[in-house]
């Protein structure tokens, strides 16, 4: 696993709660807010299960620690989106909290019902970007959530040992966390 230079993290007393909110003006019309909220809730819960950090949704967008929105093209942060596929999303290192998704993608909350060949699993991307918001950079371990790429119609939202060790080194372990063999990753498959 890899950290950002300077190893930034949210500098608050542990255990901490981070709030998140969705930009009301920057959503995608074909997904309901309930579906989007559900996918993010699952993604946040994955990280919260391994570290003593909890995530709470708030309606007060301007005061939220983590601000989530779907944007097209140049949206003012110097990192323009590029249309279908290519770059899917980006998030900023701590403690910025900015989380942007490319509105041009076909975001899916259920790959079985979404038949598009270019559908991108929202929960998988959300889980990856939350890793950035917490302070993790891209990992070279292919099975890890923090690996930088994700194929269309693929689901990769389960945290692997590489992700868990990385984030626990920053925030400590959730006292209720239990390691499961499914979290192991086979780094030999990288070659």
């Amino acid at each position: 696993y890899v950290y950002f230079p300077g190893k930034p993290r949210w500098a608050r007393p542990i255990p901490m709660t981070l709030t998140y909110a969705f930009s009301p003006e920057n959503l995608v019309g074909y997904l309901s807010l309930e579906d989007i909220r559900g996918a993010f809730k699952l993604a946040f819960a994955r990280w919260a299960s391994v570290i003593p950090v909890s995530f709470s949704e708030t309606d007060t967008y301007s005061f939220a620690d983590i601000k989530i929105g779907f944007y097209r093209g140049d949206h003012g942060d110097g990192e323009p989106f590029d249309g279908v596929l290519g770059v899917l999303a980006h998030a900023f290192s701590p403690e910025s909290g900015k989380f942007h998704l490319d509105a041009a993608e076909t975001w899916a909350v259920d790959l079985e019902s979404e038949k598009s060949t270019v559908a991108i699993d929202l929960e998988s991307v959300a889980t990856h970007e939350i890793g950035h918001l917490l302070g993790l950079a891209h990992s070279p371990v292919k099975e890890s959530v923090m690996y930088p790429s994700l194929k269309p119609r693929a689901k990769k939202a389960d945290l692997k040992l590489d992700d868990i060790e990385a984030v626990q080194a920053l925030y400590g372990s959730n006292p209720n966390f239990k390691f499961a063999s499914s979290m192991e990753s086979d780094i030999s498959s990288n070659q």
């Binding site: 942060d77 596929l85 598009s116 270019v118 790429s149 990288n190």
Partner: protein, 115 residues
């Protein structure tokens, strides 16, 4: 009057031609190595620049596969757990054309500017 349809409405099917994928054009660089000159290779250099592998010193981006691009390819392969060859083999190009996160791989973190 016909009864209301109980079956779910058919899911929307969206098809996108391969050629419209953002980095699909990189396929033509398959097999390229140091010394190769292929039209459009400047776009490949911009990709490596965007994700933190290649700096542009003088702004003059050519279509030549030079030693700096070779180093960038090798760094990319090492960073993404691919066999390090310094060449644009099929595994490397397949990885490069995959959709991905916009965060740089080898980089300074993205900082939000405070206004």
């Amino acid at each position: 009057r016909p009864p209301p349809e109980l079956a779910p409405s058919p899911a929307t099917v969206v098809t996108v031609k391969n050629g419209s994928y953002t980095w699909h054009g990189f396929q033509r660089f398959l097999g390229a190595r140091r010394g190769s000159r292929i039209s459009g290779m400047a776009e490949l250099k911009k990709y490596f620049n965007r994700f933190g592998y290649l700096g542009f010193q003088d702004g003059n981006v050519t279509d030549v596969f030079d030693t700096r691009l070779e180093s960038a390819v090798a760094a990319y392969q090492a960073k993404l757990g691919l066999p390090v060859t310094g060449r644009l083999d099929s595994e490397t190009l397949s990885q490069m054309m995959s959709p991905r996160c916009g965060m740089r791989d080898a980089m300074q973190p993205m900082h939000a500017a405070m206004h």
